[in-house]
Subunit: 765 residues, 2 copies
């Protein structure tokens, strides 16, 4: 590789505080939105103390798993959807003389691990000792390709340290469900296994498989090609095909073996053979006529492009800089790119949360993509359009006449929540999606998307709320209310008029109204059969939306009656009792004024206009002391609020904690996978917090609040097909138009115009 | 039997509309509060179409069964408790020549079934045809003894109809879990099986077993003795002991074989052998030296006593009369009598609801026992005292400092609810128990019970509420609120300030206050360490208890915000969609103004004083149209309300439907067991409705509203150790003091005194 290794792009083992194996498996995962591979011990083997949850995950490739209920009521999902843990492509067998890593206990010590985020290359050195005391170094390089989504590459180098002997290398994958050796009892993890079948496909001169799921009826093909010293395609005594090399190794010599895997797209399993024939030859061909190095270079170039547009450069805090880059790197690794997948809550780095997509994508991750990679953002949103039919079917099955009811957690579009009070009841998911569509449209001006996909979702989600909610009288005034829902905060459930939900729904309804005129008398409007009466009702509901307010404390109220719940002094609770959900019955939490995460404050952040800093200060002072931040989606949001209202120390402290969620394993469960939503929220902490970008502003606006720890922060964004670079200093913002036609924006209150003729501006503040 | 068979005490097959086998198994169950036996086909056998859920149930004899949760949170019960379905003591094998009922398909037709409720004797005739066409009649008589709780008797008569041949009769029970052949998918049924072990105990000259549970660690002994023509104790080829007779039978001849079973009490299984030795000889001895007839006569005498004190005679509606007697008969069959058991929701007639005890006992069944059999009522209440420790432990585990948290559904005192929103969240169970204690005390004046047991429960349940609830301000006034609970209506859940709950809790707190003075400076008060400050707080909470009211409709509000829920027009819902819980997701129901059962109206009924008939009329007119009565506990309560406010037709209609819940199988699930709560509620319909007895009155009062269908209704009750008989006619009440010293009462507004000197009164109204 000829790219100079910059230290501020390296995740190096020695710089990580935790050396926990499962944590490292997550942190050093390599993924590309289609496939993800955990950083396992490649020899695995028979170490009695072996702990590992290795495996390959393919975005959207899942199986059903029946959900057991103590009491099952109508409308409960029959099945969970759990992302498949496929075999570990890092696994290899090595024989030294008579000793065999797959049956003998080869002691493997990690000498070095380094993830170069510039190129996406993971470089590792293991020192391996056989039972008879023979020592060799195993050098492993691996990556998931950003250039060819299907490709995963891994290269092994074997270097005898203290012996000359015969060495055999065997690369063979004859099973499909990857075994793991870590048992987890955390309710938030789902370790169910799909019922998979691995069919060997003959006639391709390299191991080629059709992997099919029994229950979800999906299929994907997988093939791999090996190259290296004396490496040959061969069949073993069990009639399994793989690669094999045997040679006499000299002390200090290094032999290399490289493998390129290609994992096809996931398809419904209608005709397995036809499907395989159609795609396999192509995939097979591709990896046969290239090399580990060529594929890595191609991928590294895409990473370069990514960093060019998406990097955030912080001058003043190298640790935060590195954590932030890790977050952006992981976000980019996690995002589905094929318009049929989204971003699993744990990325493709583990099977936590079953590989499901939540609101995390739209609310916490999407803004990063919208502003830095709108094409990718569009694909992520397209997943919601692709599953609109499922959402509509769910609304009907629920008993509604119209509209769409998006699943709180899902892979295939159908609800997979086993505990509806903190799942299905979070009906804000509908509005979260509508909000993201509007945000995407505001930033990109992508009229085609709005007309072809976006507006239909906005209308269908709104219709659902019109049936759920109702007009009624509150305090003598006609209002639109939304009862019996669960807001973002999961330490409350089944409440009436959750402020966040109602505010979001109001926005969703407003969007229907906002674009109704534009689509009047178009085919779209006919297809949606939006009547004037319906529009009038939607407008009225938005106008009269009830937003609960606590007059006594002069703050927005998380939900109606929240002010009447029991008070808990969090500082009196033993630190070992956090997260509270693992120590208290739901009824203890639901009846208390205690928050798992930002709820009302999140609404403030998503709708930053139309209220004063004093108002936000009151909300912050009310909610901050009762929030446990047991959710990893919380601290970054509080950081944004704190930044705006001038609580600079708190803002930086929350932000610095948020940004380290995974890299410091601060929620103690990064072992199950990264917290993709939290990583995205950390970026929002900078963008909406310290850069002070104002969401939903007609004119792009920012009110910077540079932390005193920083000398500057620099980033690029796209706005209406133009790209800009911002550099924010203590009392100055420099902005330049890099491409496109430019626009007018408001920076620190000052309007400034960027055009091709005048592409640079310096604003003092 | 020398008791004349009165037709108005017979449940005869030909008078039942349904002939469904599972339904009949329930209807013709015979039980005595300790044991219950379903009315199975005694030959069972190999009929491929055989449907049956036979078995013997022992009150309080259960095993644990792990509850599966899709997502399990803190504090959820690990295990369900499920009453054991023991082998069917009715089962017998008959051989005719070479044909064997246990392996060949003997076709068995029911010729007749009759349950004589005067004596508790079930008399049946089956016509049995062997594959070769031999026909014999099988006459079966059976009963569970009210005289000796342990005893179940069954007598078989065999009468060849069209053949002379060898007949063998084999009575042997070598298995323990009774097999059933009905699969049920209704969430309200629990068909889990315990892990039981049947150990044969040698040295008793009759089959004697120790039955033990693996998980719940309980043990009970069971033995049976047989007598009959050529019947002998014998060991079969499998080394199982039983009874056997072989004889040559002539056409038309009748041979009888009688068996007495004795089923011991349930004990913790600490030392199985010691336990068996201690009790078995006694049980064994008892049934050896008596006969079917002698035991039946002894039991029939107890039934006579029961009817003497507990019968309600209705002149004018024979069908209602018979249904009512069935209900009272079943109630008496179901009630645990050993102070360690209560009344399972399905009696001992099936395993529906797992054999659990609910609030059904205290609120719907206990009044019948309090007024007609206070000794038994006391024993039923003692069950709650025996499990107070468990309730205290549950409060502590929940995170509370003090108090008792009774389980919503349980056998052993610990919560067994798998769905907490409609289970654990029904915290009104605490106050239901306190209410029952107060009612028992008011009617009996049993000072010892109050001092030794009752007041402690009242204080401990009240303490739980003091921690759950809180003082807050509502509409500018200081109030005590109780948030996040589920009231009686299970089509709402997790609501704030359920009217019923708050009203009941207020009463519970008032009872603490009411008796505090009496126990001041006693050992009891020291043990309870009731401080003046605590008492003052309890008084304040009761004084300030928030009772939600709907000013617009001028009605009590089921819960805060209930008036803001969606309206559903029940008449627009297809009848096949009831019960709604089997057709709608909980969130559809919870967000609507729809009731499964009486909730606010029940509170009105339990606290009939201090408000006008007009107020009750408004409540009734508001809640009646939105109530589905999907719960069998509903209609009788609405009948009481309707009776009071002069809606005579509706009152009688609701009552007539309520009283037939089981006998007409109107909820279509009597097959799983009787609805014991509903049976008790029907009695309440007469007592509180048509007789118009006023609960919680300082002086016993009644305001009769005799239905126009009736000429009169007569019943006896106990009040403060005196017994009275009432005869209510259209415009006249006749009351007589039967025993005891008498009292003053108010009848139709008129005060009348009953004394030994002047034991009869006639009151016109």
């Amino acid at each position: 590789m000829r790219i100079e290794q910059r230290p501020d792009f390296q995740i190096h083992l020695q710089n990580l505080k935790s050396k926990d194996q499962l944590y490292l498996e997550t942190i050093f995962n390599v993924a590309n939105g289609h496939i993800g591979v955990r950083d396992s011990n490649p020899l695995q083997g028979n170490n009695p103390n072996y702990v590992g949850t290795p495996g390959l995950f393919v975005n959207g490739f899942y199986d059903y798993y029946p959900i057991e209920y103590g009491e099952k009521y109508t409308g409960y999902p029959e099945n969970d959807q759990v992302i498949n843990r496929l075999f570990d492509p890092r696994y290899i067998r090595i024989k030294v003389g008579d000793e065999n890593s797959s049956v003998d206990f080869f002691k493997s010590e990690t000498v070095d691990k380094n993830l170069d985020m510039q190129t996406g290359l993971l470089h590792e050195i293991f020192s391996v000792t056989t039972p008879e005391g023979k020592i060799f170094n195993l050098v492993v390089e691996s990556f998931s390709s950003l250039a060819s989504d299907n490709v995963y590459g891994i290269k092994y180098g074997v270097v005898p340290v203290n012996f000359d002997d015969d060495i055999e290398v065997i690369k063979m994958h004859s099973y499909i469900n990857q075994a793991t050796s870590s048992t987890v009892s955390d309710v938030r993890v789902n370790e169910s296994e799909g019922h998979l079948q691995l069919d060997f496909l003959e006639g391709y001169d390299q191991p080629s498989y059709l992997i099919t799921t029994y229950k979800s009826q999906q299929g994907a093909i997988l093939t791999y090609n090996g190259k290296g010293f004396k490496l040959e395609y061969y069949k073993d005594e069990n009639n399994h095909w793989g690669y094999h090399a045997k040679y006499h190794a000299k002390k200090g010599s290094q032999k290399e073996f490289e493998f390129l895997f290609s994992i096809g797209d996931v398809h419904p399993l209608v005709n397995a053979q036809m499907y395989a024939d159609q795609y396999l030859a192509k995939l097979n061909e591709h990896i046969r006529h290239t090399s580990f190095k060529a594929e890595l270079m191609a991928s590294a170039q895409v990473w370069q492009t990514f960093w060019l547009h998406s990097d955030v450069e912080i001058d003043g805090d190298p640790q935060v800089q590195l954590s932030l880059r890790f977050n952006l790197f992981e976000l980019h690794q996690s995002a589905g790119r094929n318009a049929h997948t989204s971003i699993p809550a744990k990325g493709l780095s583990g099977s936590g949360y079953g590989g499901h997509y939540f609101w995390d994508t739209e609310i916490f991750m999407l803004p990063f993509f919208i502003y830095t990679n709108p094409e990718l953002a569009k694909k992520i949103l397209m997943y919601r359009y692709q599953t609109l039919k499922q959402a509509q079917r769910q609304a009907t099955q629920f008993g509604f006449n119209r509209g769409a009811m998006y699943a709180w957690r899902t892979i295939n579009g159908y609800e997979a929540s086993a505990y509806w009070p903190a799942g299905t009841a979070q009906i804000h998911i509908n509005a979260d999606i509508a909000y993201a569509i509007e945000q995407y449209y505001e930033v990109t001006g992508d009229d085609d998307f709005l007309a072809d996909y976006g507006y239909e979702i906005i209308v269908e989600t709104a219709r659902f709320y019109m049936e759920w909610g109702k007009f009624t009288e509150i305090d003598g005034e006609r209002r639109f209310v939304i009862n019996r829902v669960t807001g973002p905060d999961e330490y409350s459930a089944i409440v009436d008029n959750n402020y966040y939900t109602n505010k979001m729904v109001k926005f969703n309804l407003r969007m229907v109204e906002k674009y109704a005129k534009r689509f009047e008398n178009t085919d779209l409007s006919k297809r949606l059969s939006l009547s004037k009466q319906e529009l009038a009702e939607i407008k009225e509901a938005a106008d009269l939306m009830y937003l609960p307010f606590d007059k006594e404390n002069n703050v927005k109220l998380q939900y109606q009656n929240f002010d009447k719940m029991n008070k808990i002094n969090l500082s009196h609770i033993d630190t070992s009792d956090f997260p509270l959900l693992l120590h208290y019955h739901p009824l203890m939490l639901y009846r208390s004024q205690v928050n798992k995460q930002a709820d009302t404050i999140l609404a403030d952040i998503l709708f930053p206009k139309g209220y004063s800093d004093e108002e936000l200060t009151r909300d912050f002072d009310f909610y901050e002391p009762i929030t446990t931040h047991d959710s990893s989606l919380s601290k970054a949001i509080f950081a944004i609020a704190a930044a705006r209202i001038g609580k600079e120390k708190q803002a930086y402290s929350f932000f610095a904690q948020a940004i380290e969620t995974d890299i410091q394993n601060s929620h103690h469960n990064t072992s199950n996978g990264i917290h993709a939503g939290s990583l995205g929220a950390a970026w929002e902490g900078i963008f909406y917090g310290f850069a002070g970008v104002v969401n939903n502003a007609e004119t792009f606006s920012m009110y910077p609040k540079l932390p005193s720890q920083w000398n500057s922060v620099k980033f690029r964004i796209f706005l209406y097909n133009s790209e800009y670079i911002f550099a924010i200093y203590e009392h100055e913002v420099r902005v330049s138009l890099l491409s496109g036609t430019g626009t007018t924006m408001i920076i620190a209150g000052a309007e400034c115009e960027l055009t091709r003729e005048s592409p640079n501006q310096v604003i003092k503040y």
